[in-house]
Symmetry: C2
Subunit: 252 residues, 2 copies
């Protein structure tokens, strides 16, 4: 079995931990975190002390902490021969430059404590400096997911940016739709079938083909009317800019 | 059975027609459209002639044509005692003012010719001037959908606006994500599980609670880096404005 030390006790660490435990390829020998409170999720050996003295031996050290803390945490693993990976979309592999054997295991998914996820369907993006470490990482990744990709630091930056549009910005559209409903005494429930259909539609179709609506139709009357309904402010500015962007898209 | 004349041969007319035929409450006695080509979908009596001479007797006349044509089409139904409804989200009921018995049957869903839809899960928004016509419309609606709502013209305007955010704008986020993938040799397939999870997450949770990402975290380093990746132009302006809107949201 591959021995893993997991550093971090947030959402990514928890979901990885649960996924590893479902299979019989990975043994998590240690979980290290700063917050003893959040370490309760891990019903096994865990410690809130970080530093070389406390780190157990393992094949892979996975740093699943916030972007800003990766570098510092990696430096606390003093033995530079240890294979250390982080899980961030936007941070290059070389932030781990203190370790010759470095890599990245980036799960392209949005995690929340409220929802279980099926790791088999989560794309895992791998990168490693040393070829034999890439093999090791691939073995680990394939044990929990059916979607494993090799993506370098530069591509991953763009992938993470695309994910911001597909996930964070999309969710913000839901937030604004919800807000408009609430302000007008309309149940947000009414929009849920539409939201699901919009997402399911692109499973088999290019989103460009699936675009509909007043902006695409250049329906100036509806565009003017809806813009007036929003008045002024950021929401109105957003309506105009996204509508403009859809109209530009049409010309491509 | 309720007799229906369907006017229009586009996506909404086709999906309504198919839904009516599945039940045994509605009998479509006639389909009227201008394009003989698209009338082929309707394997029954249909005509491409419009005008009172050709209109058969029915309980409800459903005008499922583009927003701009509703008024003209309604005027071609000369008998002002006929119960006439349109299917538009953004047009008020009173565009049908030539008919005392007027109403609206607005299906809150995005239709495409490529995908079948389960009408049972499509919210139908009803409005009628005459109370007994509302009862008639409700009977028709309940025969094809489990989600029937009474929504007046003013509320429907806002509902349609919310739907533009939840559907058209969301789909445009997919378009931009796809574009970023294509420009960087990344398969768009990788984003599909994320897109589905983002939509499914809000089935049981307020989207405000589900918001994640660099803008929400006020992660200025990532925001600056991603904005730089986009350069200038509409896409970069969108990135900044949506990120700003998410940050505003946080303060609410």
């Amino acid at each position: 079995m591959l021995k893993v030390v997991l550093i971090g006790s947030g959402k990514v660490a928890k979901h990885l931990f649960d996924a590893f435990r479902l299979g019989n390829v990975i043994e998590v020998v240690q979980v290290i975190g700063r917050h003893s409170e959040s370490l309760r999720h891990f019903d096994m050996v865990s410690t809130n002390l970080i530093g070389e003295d406390h780190v157990l031996d393992a094949d892979i050290y996975i740093i699943a902490v916030s972007d800003g803390a990766i570098s510092e945490v990696s430096r606390s693993i003093k033995n530079s021969e240890r294979f250390v990976v982080h899980t961030s979309g936007s941070i290059p592999m070389n932030v781990l430059s203190g370790h010759n054997r470095r890599g990245v295991l980036y799960p392209l998914q949005t995690f929340s404590s409220e929802r279980a996820v099926d790791f088999k369907k989560i794309p895992l993006c791998l990168e490693a400096k040393v070829p034999k470490d890439l093999k090791l990482l691939r073995k680990l990744a394939l044990s929990i997911s059916d979607m494993v990709f090799e993506i370098d630091s530069d591509q991953r930056k763009y992938l993470h940016l695309a994910a911001v549009f597909a996930n964070n910005f999309t969710n913000h559209m839901y937030v604004l739709a919800n807000q408009i409903c609430e302000e007008n005494g309309l149940p947000f429930e009414m929009l849920k079938p539409l939201i699901l259909e919009t997402a399911e539609k692109i499973e088999n179709h290019n989103p460009l083909i699936m675009q509909t609506g007043p902006a695409l139709r250049q329906d100036l009357k509806v565009l003017k009317m809806q813009s007036d309904l929003l008045g002024t402010g950021t929401r109105a500015a957003l309506y105009e800019l996204i509508s403009k962007s859809i109209q530009n898209q049409k010309k491509l």
